[in-house]
């Protein structure tokens, strides 16, 4: 019985993978994301210039043979800075989505599974959080936790788990009424086992899709905060911070804003397209 269940599970995920691989747009997104990730790791070593090194003899240079992406207003190599900034942006996107998923699954799972007063209280908390535009809340939190990458992730995650919790709660409430859950409970399975063995595997597909859509939200959130001066501080950098400092020089050195903007947009686009592809691939309704 257990073997059969396992086989079906693998065939489902294999099936989903097969469908994803057939989706050219999604696969192109995967390659773009892989390329950007690899460049974020090795990029800073591909240029002889350090990302924080100031060179007053080469201020605001246009992209060329010496500096591939040019230099900024205090002569720092933009190629090195783009990939160092990319590390921060990508890490905040990935870690932020991960933290939010953990909080959201716990919160929504408990709320949806047990219901009653606990559910009421927990959902009121989420509702109050939803009454303030998300990024304003992030700004308030980041005034308290301070700046830097860790603080940014905390600020974005503290405020961002509401929608994930709602999603998980809705799913859990739906699934817990299913007969196989009743059967498991009748056979003596406790809440922990039901949640781990039945609920989470059933919502895993939806979670993966949601995470994929959350990552660009966090990348944008970080860029937004850096843009209004609450994000990564110099000499550290991120795509948002690079775009922000280049924006002030837009009239004179438009190329400086081109690369950070390009990579933010490209990354967000690729995650959105991959999310669409994953949703189509994992949606059981489209299976037959």
């Amino acid at each position: 019985m257990e073997k059969l269940a396992k086989e079906q599970k693998t065939s489902y995920s294999r099936d989903a993978m097969r469908r994803l691989r057939q989706n050219k747009v999604a696969m192109a997104s995967v390659f773009i994301l892989l390329f950007i990730s690899v460049m974020c790791i090795i990029g800073p070593y591909l240029t002889p210039y350090d990302y924080a090194a100031v060179d007053t003899s080469a201020l605001n240079q246009a992209p060329g043979a010496q500096h591939i992406f040019g230099t900024d207003n205090i002569g720092r190599d933009l190629f090195a800075r783009i990939w160092m900034g990319g590390r921060v942006s990508m890490l905040i996107g990935l870690l932020g989505a991960l933290v939010v998923t953990v909080i959201g699954v716990l919160f929504g799972g408990i709320s949806g599974y047990f219901g009653g007063v606990l559910d009421d209280i927990m959902m009121r908390i989420v509702e109050i959080m939803n009454c303030v535009p998300y990024l304003i809340l992030v700004i308030l939190i980041s005034l308290i936790v301070g700046q830097g990458m860790g603080a940014l992730i905390i600020a974005l995650a503290i405020t961002g788990w509401g929608s994930m919790a709602r999603l998980v709660r809705g799913q859990v409430m739906q699934i817990k009424e299913q007969q196989y859950v009743l059967a498991a409970q009748a056979l003596g399975a406790g809440p922990a086992r039901v949640i781990a063995k039945h609920l989470i595997p059933n919502i895993a597909g939806l979670l993966i899709v949601e995470i994929t859509f959350d990552i660009p939200v966090f990348i944008f959130g970080e860029a937004f905060l850096s843009f209004i001066g609450l994000g990564i501080q110099s000499p550290g950098t991120s795509w948002g911070a690079l775009a922000a400092s280049a924006q002030q020089l837009l009239m004179f050195y438009p190329y400086q804003i081109f690369f950070p903007s390009l990579f933010i947009s490209l990354t967000m686009l690729a995650f959105n397209l991959l999310g669409d592809g994953l949703r189509d691939a994992l949606d059981p309704r489209l299976r037959h």
């Binding site: 535009p133 304003i136 308030l140 775009a243 947009s265």
Partner: protein
């Protein structure tokens, strides 16, 4: 209907009180106190006077009672950074510019988003459909500050058609409104395309077509009314998006609105201003969501009946 509105209004006031309280707690949870950074270099006596002036020498609980009491009387206090500037007056002074931009952006996003979505649905699989899909994708993937920079560069640096920054007549509002509306437009185009496709495949559309209803009347009388419901639910998040978007857009275009002043207050760590503006933004947002819900109930009788029975 009236009962529904009153109930929601009461609920909104309670939530607003919760938001104000949380904001107050957050502002006082900041390491040090609101004045510590600004009053660092003042002589002790002056500093003590300043603390007394803003009531910061009292216990936090007492400060909370005073703040709430003042708020009830319409007093939001004075700016910490610029003594003498009344927070409420500053907000009222800057609100019109932000309101104008926001309303224009919502109008652009709604109208163009809905039109593009319906066009795409009727031309499914043909080139207009692909154009709309690409617009919708770019709209959600290109951050608004990037779009703002592109617009600014193309339409006022490269082709000097419109003013790059500042605030004056209608010409000054075009680029910022466009930049602000992009994500709403994209989301609307996408959702309208999907829901129009749903509606088009319904039997009543076929019946209407068979009876010889013209395309325009078909869209106006049947498609929009039915397809717009999912779009109305998205109004809330869209309004939040446009409110927050005003921070960066107003800063980029140097527009004297609440958004750019909020960003300045953050730079200055001007806590009374930050608090006042946060409360203002939250109140505007909640009111907007309430209006959307009322509109929703007005469009769809099913919700009205269900809502009053609850």
């Amino acid at each position: 209907m009236l009962k529904f509105i009153l109930k929601r209004l009461g609920y909104m006031l309670i939530t607003l009180w919760a938001v104000i309280t949380v904001t107050f707690i957050l502002m006082h949870a900041i390491p040090g106190d609101p004045m510590s950074n600004l009053a660092r270099n003042l002589p002790p006596q002056t500093r003590a006077n300043y603390y007394a002036k803003y009531g910061l020498d009292k216990p936090v609980a007492e400060q909370y009672v005073i703040y709430m009491n003042n708020l009830l009387h319409g007093d939001m206090g004075e700016s910490l950074k610029y003594p003498g500037r009344d927070v409420k007056k500053e907000i009222l002074r800057y609100a019109p510019a932000t309101a104008r931009l926001g309303l224009q952006a919502i109008a652009i996003g709604l109208v163009f988003g809905i039109v593009l979505g319906i066009v795409a649905a009727f031309k499914r699989g043909k080139w207009p459909d692909y154009v709309v899909i690409i617009i919708a994708l770019l709209g959600v993937s290109v951050p608004n500050f990037v779009l703002a920079s592109i617009l600014q560069f193309v339409f006022s640096v490269n082709i000097p058609l419109l003013p790059a920054t500042g605030w004056g007549g209608f010409a000054y509002t075009i680029l910022p409104s466009l930049a602000l509306s992009a994500s709403a437009l994209a989301v609307y185009a996408r959702i309208m395309r999907a829901s129009s496709l749903d509606v088009i495949s319904q039997d009543y559309i076929m019946t209407a077509r068979a009876k010889g209803v013209s395309s325009l009347s078909l869209v106006w009388n049947h498609v929009i009314r039915n397809a717009i419901l999912p779009a109305v639910t998205l109004m809330g998040p869209m309004i939040a998006n446009i409110l927050v978007g005003s921070f960066v857009i107003e800063s980029i275009f140097a527009i004297p609105g609440i958004g750019s002043n909020f960003v300045m207050s953050i730079y200055n760590r001007d806590y009374t201003m930050i608090m006042g503006m946060t409360i203002f933004y939250a109140a505007v947002y909640m009111l907007a969501v309430l209006l959307v819900d009322i509109a929703y109930a007005a469009i769809d009788p099913r919700i009205r009946i269900y809502g009053s029975r609850q």
